[in-house]
């Protein structure tokens, strides 16, 4: 796992960074490299690496430093070359992604972009003069959802509609991804199911040019880049799923589509940004959703003992 993680950075991430930044990351200690979660480049600011809970600056020799004066300062050229590399020197082919503020690169790694927004008729037309790039490393942790399967499968050996709650960076997406794979391939808790993934931000499947980069199981259809509400309806009509998986619901139309899915007899497994049930219920829309009894299981995650720590499981049997 450690070696694989290190290879992942060297093979799948470094080619997308500007040569000076790539050289620095290559010299970072392997022990740190395998825990690397994010690389942050901000024009004129130190190069930061998010390793576990810490955000540390790194110097030219690839050493992690606390004194920011010794850190490598990211140049405009680094940002420019990184953007060129992640867009394959083809910004025209990523207009929609740039409008949404991120580009997914092969491997499902998400690159967040910041710069000057160009507006047209009140909508963001594009982003120009990029000032920051944040590269979030996607990892597939196979088996991480297995301890949760017994709470998700019920007596009929079918997955129940489940809601995951957690703050950002607590492993929601990684668990949803592995859960999708387990459900699609079947496990001792239940037979294989046909799964539709509505992957609005290309995070679950990490789809790159029509190819799903993550292992989501052999019975999974991915609607990539598709708005959740529309995607759920499309999946019901066209793909005949037994389970729909989608990430980070929160809009009125998502809730309405979710109800439609439940009424159509399709289980929905989804997630929501909230630290716990109490925090989630402060949002009227979510309170309404929970009161409808749409979900049969609720799982709260945190980073207390590392990403994916299960804090609470609520079952409404």
């Amino acid at each position: 796992m450690g070696f694989e993680s290190q290879r992942l950075i060297i093979d799948a991430i470094i080619p997308y960074l500007s040569p000076p930044v790539g050289r620095i990351i290559r010299t970072v200690e392997p022990q740190q490299l395998k825990r690397l979660e994010e690389i942050r480049l901000r024009n004129g600011q130190p190069l930061f690496l998010k390793i576990g809970e810490q955000e540390l600056a790194v110097n030219k020799q690839g050493e992690l430093v606390k004194d920011l004066r010794h850190a490598y300062i990211v140049q405009g050229e680094d940002i420019y070359r990184t953007i060129l590399a992640i867009s394959d020197n083809s910004l025209y082919a990523f207009e929609e992604e740039i409008r949404r503020g991120f580009i997914t690169i092969p491997g499902g790694h998400r690159v967040g972009l910041a710069g000057q927004a160009v507006m047209e008729s009140g909508q963001i037309k594009t982003i120009k003069d990029f000032s920051s790039v944040s590269l979030r490393i996607a990892r597939q942790v196979k088996g991480c959802s297995e301890p949760l399967l017994e709470h998700i499968y019920r007596q009929q050996r079918c997955p129940a509609s489940t809601l995951f709650l957690s703050a950002p960076r607590c492993g929601k997406t990684t668990i949803l991804r592995d859960l999708t794979r387990n459900i699609a391939e079947g496990s001792r808790w239940g037979p294989p199911c046909t799964v539709s993934v509505i992957d609005e931000r290309s995070e679950l499947g990490g789809t790159y040019r029509g190819q799903v980069q993550m292992d989501l199981g052999c019975r999974t259809d991915v609607l990539d880049g598709c708005p959740k509400a529309q995607g759920m309806m499309m999946a019901i009509r066209a793909l005949g799923p037994q389970v729909i998986v989608t990430d980070e619901i929160g809009r009125r139309e998502d809730v309405e589509a979710l109800q439609e899915c439940i009424n159509a007899g399709v289980a929905v497994i989804t997630s929501l940004h909230a630290r716990d049930l109490e925090e989630a219920q402060r949002r009227p829309l979510i309170r309404e959703l929970l009161s409808m009894g749409v979900f049969q299981t609720l799982i709260t995650l945190s980073r207390r003992q590392g990403p994916g720590t299960v804090e609470e499981i609520v079952r409404w049997d």
């Binding site: 070359r81 060129l84 394959d88 020197n89 025209y92 082919a93 594009t126």
Partner: protein, 174 residues
């Protein structure tokens, strides 16, 4: 001795005439190569603006449809970009133009027009790319016309000029 003189005369005239014909041929080749460059830019535009093919692949596809020596420009820039060594389009294009310069009959001002694409290719949205290609093709069309006109006037000069020069040299030596 007469046969030796005759051979010498023939060689001088043939040498100068051949040189002139070669030069005339290069003038025609330049026109042809500008035309090929313009057509290739048309292919590349379609790959970029209609198919939205990533630039390295778009260049590779264009190379496959383009005749030598222009082919080398697209092939080389695609190769440099596909290597993923942090090379920008500007650098890849400049490297490819340097190779083209060695093999083509294009003039510095023709290469200068092709070089204007370096900072534009892939670096903006579809609409801006369309405008860039429109301008580039327009400039190449004008350049092609100018080269054709120049070729018309210079072709005869070099074709006959070589033989005339050869004859003059012979007369002068005799």
């Amino acid at each position: 001795m007469l046969w030796l003189k005759t051979v010498g005369v023939a060689m001088v005239i043939a040498g100068c005439g051949g040189g002139g014909l070669m030069r005339a041929g290069r003038i025609d080749k330049r026109v042809e190569q500008i035309k090929i460059a313009r057509q290739a830019m048309g292919y590349l535009e379609k790959e970029i603006t209609y198919l939205q093919t990533p630039l390295p692949l778009a260049l590779e596809h264009t190379a496959a449809l383009t005749a030598p020596p222009l082919k080398i420009m697209f092939q080389e820039s695609a190769r440099l970009l596909l290597n993923r060594q942090g090379v920008s389009v500007t650098e890849a294009w400049a490297g490819a133009l340097a190779r083209l310069e060695q093999q083509a009959d294009l003039h510095a001002d023709d290469l200068q027009i092709l070089n204007t694409a370096a900072n534009q290719l892939g670096a903006s949205g579809i609409e801006q790319q369309k405008q860039c290609f429109l301008l580039l093709q327009e400039q190449l069309k004008i350049q092609e016309e100018k080269a054709r006109e120049k070729a018309e006037s210079e072709r005869k000069l070099w074709s006959y000029g070589g033989f005339i020069l050869g004859t003059t040299v012979v007369l002068f030596l005799l």
